[in-house]
Symmetry: C2
Subunit: 343 residues, 2 copies
């Protein structure tokens, strides 16, 4: 006789059209009951159009009815609130305080690293007035959804993405909003998007220490922050403001990353420190967190970002960073679990 | 017999202690009457401490009493509102939408260029959460003032500067404010700072199209905008949002500047386009404004900024930019005057 786990595994192959993500990962399968050759399945219809619901019911019927010994399949559809379906292991915000240091780049590279490591990852682009994430991943599809929720757009390598730029008529359109509206857009990206089951949700913050980071740190269950900086003194000063904000809000800093550390010029086999001496040690100390990496300026990476192919990036320095990041995350989770046990 | 103009010229040598700016430039001399060997001078006490007022009265007494044929000097002190004393020729905002493209750098270099050209220039740092201006100019003095107003801090070459960083206990301190507070800080920098007589007030905007640029464009008499961008496609997309905002707010764009255009490596006598091909033509076209310059990445400039010595910068590309900027400004003013006459 077939068991629940086997049914779940089969349903995990069923991708929601448009999203191309499995109904199990989206946490839409609410219940499975098997008894006397009968399977009862409860499916959440949240964020699904009526057409998609019908399509899924047919598919589930075929899959479940195909098991040996099953003579009856009942599919019960219910509208569950997004918050009941979202199971997000860790919300990690990428912050800097300073603009143009590569927050979106680091957020994206971190998501790619965690995805390559086998985790389910999403990116919430909290930069409402200067969103960069969709372009880096080359996605432009409008998110689908219904009155009960919005679905993220899945990238080529399976990262779930929501950004205001996916909702604008044109990617050039300006969002001329004052702070309260920006805050409410971010909370909607949290409360009304069906993220489903994710190991990590990376939040890409805009520059500054105003509405967006305040809303994210106050309204979202942020487990930790990654701080991005570049070598310039001037940048370091502004980034220290962000570090102070994080500390004042009582959030842990998981690590710091120096971006644009240097440029390697192969013709002369030389590293040029374009923006001055590395600030890595000082920043790690100020943040009380490990240095996760020093990324050089890499014209090849800039090109991949412009082409929407950041997921293809590969380099030694990136692999070091990816390794340090996933190591730091698993160490941090081990410590969190140990702390919880101790309580 | 001495005339008003001569008295004014002598008073223009009198610098307010702490600010090191003349009482005439600060527009504190409200009236001069000369008759029968008597000079009556009305001095505004706005933003001056009682001690400074006394010191100035003594000095004015000495200067005016020293003219041949003058036997009596009367100094009348009155508290005039800041708005009556501020005579600002042009408010020019430097904007980008994108962070880290060098808005503060361009704002500062523009101020330096106009100052070298003989204009009186101020900088209003409207980046409340990531203020960079004071560090670039190497100023750290707390602005002086009284209940009736705040005085800007004067840079080495005579540029008047106000920034939130000059008012914080430490330059690293974070300003964790939501939008409305940010807007009100900016309007205070406009309404409660005694700028006096300036030909140009350069406003350095933070990234984004939210509270700060909205407040500046709605509350300040902005005559025009300078747009800064870098070559990356990703940046250009976000900068086009800023251009759209400016156009929607009905403000003229005076010119566009490409920063970080390339890096010149002397060892191989080669320009490396680190962030991709120049976007200069497209951006100038999108903005409907002239290209004022293409600034390379210059490690020497980064160093000067970190040392607080941006006023010492000199390079061929900078001189080209400075020339184009002052040319564009005088052309634009000529056109404005012509348009006014035509009306």
């Amino acid at each position: 006789m077939i068991n629940k786990k086997q049914v779940m595994e089969s349903l995990d192959m069923l991708l929601v059209p448009g999203v191309m993500r499995s109904i199990v990962k989206m946490n839409l399968v609410r219940n499975i009951d098997i008894s006397d050759g009968k399977i009862d399945i409860t499916l959440a219809s949240t964020a699904l159009s009526p057409g998609t619901q019908e399509w899924l019911k047919n598919k589930i019927n075929n899959i479940a009815g195909g098991f040996t010994g099953i003579s009856e399949v009942n599919i019960n559809v219910e509208d569950a609130p997004v918050k009941d379906l979202n199971q997000i292991g860790n919300v990690v915000a990428v912050m800097s305080g300073k603009g143009g240091v590569g927050k979106s780049l680091v957020a994206s590279l971190a998501a790619v690293a965690l995805t390559r490591d086998g985790y389910d990852v999403g990116i919430l682009d909290a930069d409402i007035t200067g969103p960069s994430i969709p372009k880096m991943f080359g996605i432009g599809d409008r998110p689908s959804g219904s009155e009960s929720g919005l679905l993220p757009v899945t990238s080529k390598s399976g990262i779930e993405i929501i950004s205001i730029n996916l909702l604008l008529p044109s990617e050039d359109d300006a969002v001329i909003w004052r702070g309260p509206l920006i805050g409410s857009a971010i909370t909607q990206f949290w409360e009304e998007v069906l993220w489903g089951k994710l190991d990590y949700l990376i939040v890409d913050l805009p520059p500054g220490t105003a509405d967006a980071p305040l809303t994210v740190m106050q309204q979202l269950p942020v487990s930790g922050i990654i701080i991005v900086f570049t070598p310039q003194d001037l940048t370091a000063m502004v980034v220290r403001k962000a570090v102070k904000m994080v500390q004042q809000m009582g959030k842990p800093i998981l690590g710091v990353i120096e971006n644009m550390s240097y440029l390697y010029v192969p013709e002369i086999n030389k590293k040029i420190e374009l923006f001055g001496k590395s600030q890595a040690k000082d920043m790690a100390q100020a943040a009380g967190a490990p240095l996760l990496g020093q990324l050089p300026i890499d014209p090849a990476l800039a090109k991949l970002c412009d082409e929407g192919n950041i997921e293809r990036y590969d380099s030694d320095t990136y692999n070091d960073f990816a390794h340090n990041l996933t190591e730091a995350f698993s160490l941090w989770q081990k410590n969190s679990r140990a702390n919880e046990k101790r309580r």
